[in-house]
Symmetry: C2
Subunit: 111 residues, 2 copies
DNA sequence: CGAGATACCTTGACAGGCGAGGTATCTCGT
DNA sequence: ACGAGATACCTCGCCTGTCAAGGTATCTCG
């Protein structure tokens, strides 16, 4: 967990949408995938994750359904909506711009 | 102002430190420089700026002094401290890691 | 039968961003 | 002489996202 949460603040929704764009998934799995892809440098706290799901669903960017009853604990699956895909595209665009701007503002200058 | 504020949240201090690393400056000028370097895509709100100055000074990362009395409104100048330079180096490192992690998490996947 | 993993969820506190409002000085056009 | 707009500073209180802490239930393995 080498990246502080405040730095990632505001990217939570985009990260979740990006995971769901690859296929339906559920909270625990999404979180594991994120941690893994981040090389252990970042992971959601559970409270953050479920707060985000609620927010995303209220905004119509994802929808949810309970998984089939099988062995193990019940799972709530999430699926990205069309509006969610549009939001994700916008988020990716914004991230691209953010990188350019922050690189310009934080860059190492030799003086 | 195409980049939303939440995305930049947490980067405010690093941006200010980076400006001050190039030389002492004052609020209004820092803000102008930031806007200009960001190509108009981002700028601090005044309240954000002065809140940040106070926070940074309390944390010993910058110090301040009133400029010489000349024509025009008085100016409070800020200077980066040694601790501030160390923080800036850490922030730059973190930003570099953040880019790598977010690129991995938000990337466009063709499936 | 207990520990640990899987899997979900809520509450309340905290911190940063910022809209709105305020003060004072200087310049420029009329 | 006067008003508008730029320069330059500052504070108060709200909003929103994060998260520590706490809670529930199921399955596996020793």
């Amino acid at each position: 967990m080498s990246i502080s949460a405040d730095i990632l603040r505001g990217h939570t929704d985009a990260i979740i949408l990006a995971q769901l764009a690859a296929g339906d998934s559920y909270g625990y799995e999404i979180n594991k995938n994120v941690s893994q892809r981040a090389g252990g440098a970042y992971g959601f706290k559970e409270a953050t994750l479920y707060t985000a799901f609620k927010r995303l669903e209220q905004n119509g960017l994802i929808r949810s359904y309970w998984g089939e009853d099988g062995p193990g604990a019940r799972r709530r699956y999430y699926a990205i909506t069309l509006a969610g895909r549009e939001q994700l595209a916008a988020d990716r665009q914004e991230w691209s711009e953010t990188k350019a701007v922050l690189d310009a503002l934080i860059e190492q200058k030799e003086g």
